[in-house]
Symmetry: D4
Subunit: 225 residues, 8 copies
Amino acid sequence: MTGDAVDLGFARVDIAREARQGLPEVVYGTGKTAAEIVSIVRTLLRHNEGPVLVTRVGDETAAAVQAEVPDGRFDSPARLLVWRPAAPVGFGVVVAAAGTADQPVAREAAAIATAVGLTVTVVTDVGVAGLHRLLAEQDRLRAADTVIVVAGMEGALASAVGGLVACPVVAVPTSTGYGAGLEGVTALLAMHASCAAGITVVNIDSGFGAAMAAFRLSRVVAGRA
Amino acid sequence: MTGDAVDLGFARVDIAREARQGLPEVVYGTGKTAAEIVSIVRTLLRHNEGPVLVTRVGDETAAAVQAEVPDGRFDSPARLLVWRPAAPVGFGVVVAAAGTADQPVAREAAAIATAVGLTVTVVTDVGVAGLHRLLAEQDRLRAADTVIVVAGMEGALASAVGGLVACPVVAVPTSTGYGAGLEGVTALLAMHASCAAGITVVNIDSGFGAAMAAFRLSRVVAGRA
Amino acid sequence: MTGDAVDLGFARVDIAREARQGLPEVVYGTGKTAAEIVSIVRTLLRHNEGPVLVTRVGDETAAAVQAEVPDGRFDSPARLLVWRPAAPVGFGVVVAAAGTADQPVAREAAAIATAVGLTVTVVTDVGVAGLHRLLAEQDRLRAADTVIVVAGMEGALASAVGGLVACPVVAVPTSTGYGAGLEGVTALLAMHASCAAGITVVNIDSGFGAAMAAFRLSRVVAGRA
Amino acid sequence: MTGDAVDLGFARVDIAREARQGLPEVVYGTGKTAAEIVSIVRTLLRHNEGPVLVTRVGDETAAAVQAEVPDGRFDSPARLLVWRPAAPVGFGVVVAAAGTADQPVAREAAAIATAVGLTVTVVTDVGVAGLHRLLAEQDRLRAADTVIVVAGMEGALASAVGGLVACPVVAVPTSTGYGAGLEGVTALLAMHASCAAGITVVNIDSGFGAAMAAFRLSRVVAGRA
Amino acid sequence: MTGDAVDLGFARVDIAREARQGLPEVVYGTGKTAAEIVSIVRTLLRHNEGPVLVTRVGDETAAAVQAEVPDGRFDSPARLLVWRPAAPVGFGVVVAAAGTADQPVAREAAAIATAVGLTVTVVTDVGVAGLHRLLAEQDRLRAADTVIVVAGMEGALASAVGGLVACPVVAVPTSTGYGAGLEGVTALLAMHASCAAGITVVNIDSGFGAAMAAFRLSRVVAGRA
Amino acid sequence: MTGDAVDLGFARVDIAREARQGLPEVVYGTGKTAAEIVSIVRTLLRHNEGPVLVTRVGDETAAAVQAEVPDGRFDSPARLLVWRPAAPVGFGVVVAAAGTADQPVAREAAAIATAVGLTVTVVTDVGVAGLHRLLAEQDRLRAADTVIVVAGMEGALASAVGGLVACPVVAVPTSTGYGAGLEGVTALLAMHASCAAGITVVNIDSGFGAAMAAFRLSRVVAGRA
Amino acid sequence: MTGDAVDLGFARVDIAREARQGLPEVVYGTGKTAAEIVSIVRTLLRHNEGPVLVTRVGDETAAAVQAEVPDGRFDSPARLLVWRPAAPVGFGVVVAAAGTADQPVAREAAAIATAVGLTVTVVTDVGVAGLHRLLAEQDRLRAADTVIVVAGMEGALASAVGGLVACPVVAVPTSTGYGAGLEGVTALLAMHASCAAGITVVNIDSGFGAAMAAFRLSRVVAGRA
Amino acid sequence: MTGDAVDLGFARVDIAREARQGLPEVVYGTGKTAAEIVSIVRTLLRHNEGPVLVTRVGDETAAAVQAEVPDGRFDSPARLLVWRPAAPVGFGVVVAAAGTADQPVAREAAAIATAVGLTVTVVTDVGVAGLHRLLAEQDRLRAADTVIVVAGMEGALASAVGGLVACPVVAVPTSTGYGAGLEGVTALLAMHASCAAGITVVNIDSGFGAAMAAFRLSRVVAGRA
């Protein structure tokens, strides 16, 4: 250990971010072996006190990690491993997914938001090509502290929701669809060019980014309580 | 004159398209002088029988042309010159424009469609960030034989209209907006990636293309009458 | 069931679109398991009365679904499953494919158009590098109510057909070819930049989109009969 | 007036958004004449009760509008006209601009945020190539309820700030710089690819978008008070 | 003078290329003053024996240069200045231009090719949206030693001509059109993705490049005579 | 057989191109089964008299085809099957490949050019980062009737060769390299932006396109003999 | 003055960078008024001891600044203002420019490098389409401590120089040329994809960036002396 | 052997570059078989005297080569084979990697730099989202003769390091991350648009390019000793 970091050889783990910055520890699982994840998680559990999350974990790797580090919960569709989930802080998030294909990203957003203490409702199949279904969810959307919109293809749901609610809207473009969707780039650009005022955007397929954006806001609210 | 074409030196005018293909003659005005337009229009009026249109004409050029070729009507916001407009054929088109900035393109689409015999209604400011205004126009949209959707920025209106009506929807992306709108390319791609089934797209800012697409549709109906 | 939708857990199926909008139900098969498709198809067959289609289905999945839901027909080259195909409505579509490599998309367009009641003729190998073959098909093209042009590489066939016929032309860019074709993006852009007036374009490889665009028009004609 | 909108001929003004959605009325000034802006502002002042803003207004247009509609204040560097600015709601925003060239966008963000009731501090010249200057502002940044980061070129300031504070960070890419900056597209993409968790992004040069995003955040806090 | 070059201060003129490589001297006029062009042309006339050309010259600059250097001929539409044009070498080139807007580039190609000794025929308005006009020119196209195809928008003419003739086809994409034409990039890509075998492509708007490509071939033929 | 084409079910084979246009028959092998290739080749051999080529054929498919259609020769590195190769016509082509990774494309170009009657010399490892090696080949390059330059990465070899020789230069960008090479798009653009006058470019990795371009050139010379 | 910065209202000037980091102060002139430049330069001259440079300054602005701040020298072609130029440190830089159009960028690089103490030789018109001219400069290139290559269009000169010398090569892509050059993006990508080992690249048209990169190199050598 | 090259059939090996240019021989392993690598390495070992390196070699290929050519050392994470590594020349390089995912590229840079005689220190996990960790390494960074920055995603580390040190900074964008990172293109562009003066950039993932750039500088220093 040198200062704030524990050197595991393959990575230097920052064990002071939780205290220093106040954000929970989230490990990006892609490309890491089960053994590496085990090492990192153990280090974080030992040196921190809050939730420890690992994203983008496959079923096999998750099982191997859970066998080594007790008390971890795995959400398979969200590909998320969680230890010491946070208690609810009373901040309501609605995750609105445009289509069936957007669900994996919506699940990731919902699972991470829940693990860090937010209260999540998921609303699906509310793409703008079926406005009556979206409008049927207006009350739920308006009751939210933040809406996370998950949409691929043309990403139009972000604009529609942005025009319905006054709370923060975080848009997640997804890489669903084919051809002119350009693996999510079209949705990302379209969400930025949106005619709805004040919606913000995170990276393609980043349910994680949206959940953390919501968490940042929840902290401001909590700080006021 | 060699065969089907009249050679004006600066251009060879196809005087047989009307008879051969059945589409009205439309001259692209950009980059042509008033004198050139006068020559072309006179040639077409003499050798054809249907409407003659010139698109993308500025006010000064239009006045100069009108002074030389009688009976032309100029629609300044649409930048369109028309001789011998067609009689109405009983085919209803609704041009739906998302925002104020999309109006020049909507005007071009409406004016050309009218000149070739279609019956046009224009609906404006129905962008998806204000769904209640779009929904208030549902009946008019559903009564159309074809809807032309004109929208820039994220182009989401095409998807929303595509989900409301069962008639043909022709989407025109516009180059309005800034930044991530990429001069209309984002809207073009987004309209193609739309989640609404069976909507079609024409070139950026091409009110002309949309009007001609609607005209092609009207001919099928007319051929059945 | 909540209102218009049946919640199957993994998806909320809209069972009222057929009645509400008048478009047939088409399920996008990519990424769905046989079991999921079975559930959705059963729901749609029970709550609707028109055709039920599933696109982009592989041979194995199709067989598994057919074993569970009787009376489905599978068109393997088109990768399409169909229940309750529509009776012919007397609307003629010619699907013109530029080259051999464009055939899978042409097959999808033709099979879907047929399943929703259109009368389809397929014309192949009429790319613009062999104009005599295209011109040999002029009469068939001119007799159509709509021509669907399927072409990859440079997509030039759309312009050529657009100059031959006066009926609607729906162009489908395909991802065939290599290098500068950019997976269909070049053909999509080229079709939009076409010098032929009033042709429209759908998404890359979307035989489905083209068929539905033709169906939308057929409804207008039918509404006039 | 038809329903919620007042039709001014050149535009249909939505006079019910304030009541319906709770967002202040902001008119996009680009491309509008002084006379058009006067009409719209008068309509909004009459039918609403909150602030009325017009963005991207040049000096001459602003003077002409102010001469017709009393009590408007003009912030020239921010290109913003304001009537009935909101009283402070007690929500602190720090606008951090990377370089001198980013100041016009930072000014727009700050002026709009102030006009809608937020308390704004501007911090300039804190680009990552001079980390000591950024770190010297740590306390101010950490005291904010939200940080708006304005940065062009490579946009790296967003990541650095995102790692320093736990509150929401809204990043605005700017079109400053030349060459590989691609008019702001590089900064937009870079901010999305950021290694800092939970930062969000708005459109290129959109100080307006960032201010409105902050306003949406402030409403959640206000709703809890 | 140092070795093969004459140093004029603002440029070092290669006076040995003609002898060394056998290509005529062509000066790119864009960005050069009349005085600079005068210097370069004089140097080349003195040290070489073949044709001297200056491309992309405006009318005023041309007049100023002609006043200083006798015997130069200026082709205004082609923007070309020529001294000592080559005698015809008996090599036939057809320049086929798709539309009226492509004529400036076609003129440049034709004028340069003529100046270096090729025998040029220009064929215009033969875009693929009017196949009958193209086919009417078949005999002329087939009699050529090389066909230069000049086309913007979707660039489809290159494929069509490539399928009609067996001689070399050099395609020049032009920056005509708008929107999806992407300033000629779409035509360039489309020409490369062409389904016609063995056509080659030069830079956007480069009538010069196409003429020089034809000249290179004429030399091979001449070398065989 | 309908007119000029033989319909094989999966494809309509043009059996009159050889007579009509004078180009040899080349079948694109990608995506075709051995059985399909056998059918097409047999049809072409029966109805034409010249060479029959199949490109992009793997070893297994080639063996299967050769077992069914006698007298075919297979060039494995070039992935080319040939029947009835043309007798040499006395037209010299040098294929110059920049690096080892460009060899498969160079092999394809060389094998096809040879099969259609050209006399081919291959020069390898002459990239511009080793100018002495390129210059050592100057005499061979200058003796050619046409040089085919095959180069990936930055594609600079085309410019260098274009400055050394006066004969036609056909450049083939390749998809070798990684990162900024963008799968050959960078080389394609760079070759077009070349400072060498009159070089032409074919599609990425298209050794076939370059060989056919050279064949077209050879026909002009042959026509003069 | 707050800490290391002097706040001039429109900018906060870092007066400690020279001491802290050891790089000379260079002000980016674009978008700054003469008055602003005067303020900044005076501040830097007062608080630092080394050279003060202002880049991208037009003739009029330069004269106005020189009238206010004595002893400044202006290099008009390089658009550079300099006070207190550094004494030569004995580090030799060759700036090699491919063509005439690349000279403004080459001039900027040379002037800045000279002002910070490097010894500069400029070599022009050595593009790869004329290899003999490049090779004639081999000795000068090989004698350099660093070569700055300035080249637009296809940028091939960087690879050629990279293969001739063993010293550091810094490549500057320029926005010269048209069409496929894409305003310098093609050259930038091509230089990165170069086959020459260990060459590095700076931003498009950034003679400044290249000069500063050379200065950084010179410091390492100086540190060893 | 012809002149400077040994022809191995599949490649012509340049055996004189070491003597001619002074750069060590580095073979690009991708796409080469073990047998081919053995041939090339033997040729280079026989005809040269310095280090021989093979990059991008997998474990199996490496073992096969080592079995045939004695005394080779393999660095598996760096995928590098080395024979006759150079003795240290006393030139210090710090390789700074932003995140764990950037380590393979950092390893390649470090291993190659070491093999050619540089003294390398690797610093990891110093991305700008954790500035305190970067600042903790300031002294090590400032002691370097050259810093190689390896960073993907938004590539901001290059700017931050560029502002901390005065020595040369060579930035390597990596293809880590997803979505808006565009496989490293975003980082490459962002590094070029950097606000830090005089940093240079090499190709995406090219640890090799960065190491060779450092080597070139070390030679200048060595030449002064």
